[in-house]
């Protein structure tokens, strides 16, 4: 055996090609897409503006005061100078000029845009964050554990518990309580029936699988996609108290379907890959297989769809604010600046153009950035 060992020593092999790191290759592919680079630069500028905006416009005595009313200076066009004679010292804009004009109450549009940038950014990121988390969770479950069946008794338990809670909420306390206890009792029964293999507690058909977990989640996605989501959001927002956090959560909870489908498809194809089988054969736990082996391979398309999702969320928030269902005044967002401005579109067109163009540019840059990211993360393009 020693002979073969020394033979092996002679032909020890390494890669032929010079070392190329994945990141360098990706960055090079990204750089080749000019528009994507423009998108990235604008995105960074927007990010800095938004962060600066929240710092400069908040607090007791902000540098730029977005809610300071100067009725005598209303509807000033962009780049006009304040009339120093009629203004008190603290009312003079910080830059000494109305960079983007003033609105119908004489508030500085530049300060309001700064404040609104932060709203757009947080709405975009938080809403997409929620959507991605829900999407990865449900999609991962459907993709990895999808073939596990849901049995009739489990459906029954769930329906009993749910109807119990509903009746309780509808103030039919006795009926609700009864159904709820029946549900819990059923759960204990079916749990025991599963523990001891030959069950005497329940008829056998209750333990047959009705449909798979994957079917359940994917049908849920189909149903959610049936609703025109903007009207769904409108309805929910009308029922809930108006607040920026509710908006974020509602947008997030109505846009997870795409990510779920993505992640499920990725997981379904990854699950069949040999390296996942190999990890299972080595005896690794499900947790490690999902998070160490599958997730890093599934994350690229999710990232791309998330980037484009941020643009959609910003648009949705602007739309809601425009309709008056969004973030409540006096807090400024690009949507409600636009909405306020529409009444003066002929007298003061900058009130509509400034936020409109800002939304256009930011949404466009996110989409371009997402496209570039898609190319950069595409392993097929990277190979050659």
């Amino acid at each position: 055996m020693a002979e073969t060992l020394t033979k092996n020593h002679e032909i020890l092999e390494g890669p032929q090609a010079p070392r190329q790191s994945r990141f360098v290759q990706q960055f090079r592919l990204f750089k080749e897409n000019r528009l994507a680079v423009v998108g990235l630069v604008i995105f960074l500028a927007f990010f800095i503006t938004a962060v600066a905006g929240v710092v400069l416009t908040s607090g007791q005595d902000p540098v730029f005061n977005p809610s300071l009313v100067r009725l005598q200076e209303k509807l000033q066009p962009p780049l006009s100078l304040p009339n120093l004679e009629t203004l008190k010292a603290h009312e003079v804009p910080t830059l000494g000029i109305y960079l983007l004009g003033t609105d119908d109450l004489g508030r500085d549009v530049f300060a309001r845009m700064l404040q609104g940038a932060w709203v757009s950014l947080t709405v975009g990121f938080v809403a997409v964050g929620i959507a991605v988390i829900v999407g990865i969770f449900l999609g991962g479950l459907a993709g990895y554990y999808g073939q596990e069946g849901i049995c009739y008794d489990q459906i029954l338990d769930f329906l009993l518990l749910l109807s119990g809670i509903i009746f309780f909420i509808l103030k039919w306390h006795k009926l609700g309580f009864g159904l709820f206890t029946a549900g819990i009792f059923m759960m204990i029964l079916s749990f025991r029936a599963r523990r001891v293999k030959q069950n005497r507690f329940m008829p056998g058909w209750l333990h047959k699988s009705a449909f798979s977990f994957d079917t359940l989640i994917m049908r849920m996605v189909d149903i959610m996609l049936c609703f025109p989501s903007f009207f769904l959001i409108l309805t929910v927002v009308a029922l809930l108290p108006a607040s920026i956090y509710n908006i974020m959560i509602v947008i997030g909870l109505t846009s997870w379907m795409g990510t779920t489908r993505f992640v499920r498809a990725e997981f379904l194809s990854l699950r069949e890959q040999d390296f996942v089988s190999a990890a299972k054969a080595l005896g690794l736990g499900n947790f490690r297989i999902i998070f160490r082996h599958m997730m890093p391979n599934a994350v690229a398309p999710v990232l791309v769809s998330a980037t484009i999702g941020i643009a959609t969320a910003i648009l949705t928030e602007a739309g809601l604010s425009f309709l008056g269902f969004g973030v409540p005044p006096p807090y400024a967002t690009w949507g409600n600046i636009l909405s306020d401005g529409k009444r003066f579109i002929f007298d003061a067109p900058w009130l509509t153009f400034v936020p409109g163009i800002a939304i256009l540019i930011v949404v466009l840059c996110f989409n371009l950035f997402g496209e570039g990211l898609k190319d950069a993360l595409n392993p097929k393009l990277r190979q050659e």
Binding site: P15, F211, R219, A278, A279, L282, R292
Partner: protein, 330 residues
């Protein structure tokens, strides 16, 4: 195959009546509409340090057998004994300690390594399962890479930087990382270049004699199987058609399918003359809709009425030569 307990303990792996039926789903609620009998009653055994070749055409269920033994799939019937212990119905938790005893080497060297991990990290996953410390892992990793002929300094490189043959070596190193005693080689060389195939075969052979490994060698290539295995099982549509020692099977094949396979293999003939052979007619039927009776009846040159009607039993001929054909005679 009735065997005594004593015998069971002596073999590394014994498979008896193994079955796997894949459900076919249809409809809104994805109900089970049909079942594909991918593996339909398979028996064989592998002794310690021995190789069994499992040969068959695509779709015959040979890879499914490998995955059933690894317990990547749950069998629908039959038993799998590993060193005398029935592992066919162990829960994932009970299976954990046994996992490391049986490992696999895959066909596709591109899909079998995680593209987001360096090859060192891939091997480390196995070493972690054995419970080695960080230093222990490093030295063992270098030892393993050297054993399969990869420069240990390349451990921090990603799989896409290696050639197919090198990746296959890394795959072998990963499966060795948990010190298995049985390795399932699922077409380990058929995706490789001709000049690389011999390297991997030699590597597998060296490792077998050095570490006393048992192999289940799944392949469609009869030449490779005849070189590497001690015994050979020929599969067709989920059934084993013939099962015998390599010499015996290649010298005097008893089943008409084995005969047809052997005559279909192109042989290197340096005289420039071509051996005329009559190829088998027809294609492999779909496993969704197999013929009744003997699965081979539709293509068999010796077919008779009985073959179409009854399921043919697996029966033993002289010595340890098993065949699923009632017309076979030694």
């Amino acid at each position: 195959m009735a065997l005594t307990d004593n015998h069971k303990n002596a073999v590394t792996l014994q498979v008896a009546g193994l079955k796997k039926y894949f459900p076919v789903h249809r409809g809104f609620f994805q109900r089970v509409a049909a079942r594909v009998k991918a593996v339909d009653g398979v028996d064989f055994e592998i002794g310690p340090g021995k190789s069994l070749g499992l040969v068959g055409e695509s779709g015959c269920g040979k890879s499914t057998v490998g995955r059933l033994i690894l317990k990547l799939l749950e069998p629908d019937g039959g038993k799998i004994f590993y060193k005398g212990r029935d592992i066919s119905h162990l829960s994932p938790r009970e299976m954990r300690p046994l996992r490391q005893e049986i490992q696999i080497v895959f066909q596709d060297p591109y899909g079998s390594l995680n593209p987001r991990m360096t090859i060192g990290q891939s091997i480390d996953e196995g070493l972690r399962c054995v419970g080695l410390s960080k230093e222990g892992r490093k030295s063992r990793r270098e030892e393993l890479l050297e054993m399969v002929g990869i420069w240990p300094g390349a451990a921090d490189r990603y799989p896409h930087e290696f050639s197919g043959g090198q990746r296959q070596r890394v795959g072998v190193a990963r499966s060795l990382s948990v010190n298995p005693s049985l390795i399932i080689c699922d077409e380990p060389i058929s995706a490789l270049d001709v000049s690389i195939q011999a390297q991997i075969i030699n590597l597998l052979n060296d490792l077998q004699s050095r570490l006393d490994l048992s192999y289940l060698f799944i392949s469609h290539d009869l030449n490779v199987v005849s070189y590497i295995s001690d015994r050979v099982a020929v599969m067709y549509l989920g059934h084993i058609m013939e099962y015998a020692d390599t010499e015996s099977l290649f010298e005097k094949p008893l089943h008409p399918y084995t005969l047809a396979l052997l005559s279909s293999v192109p042989k290197i003939d340096d005289t420039g003359t071509r051996g005329a052979h009559t190829p088998l007619k027809g294609d492999v039927p779909s496993p969704l809709d197999p013929p009744p009776g003997c699965k081979f009846q539709g293509r068999c040159p010796r077919v008779e009425e009985r073959c179409r009607k009854e399921e043919i039993q697996f029966s033993r001929f002289d010595g340890d030569h098993w065949v699923r054909c009632w017309k076979a005679s030694p």
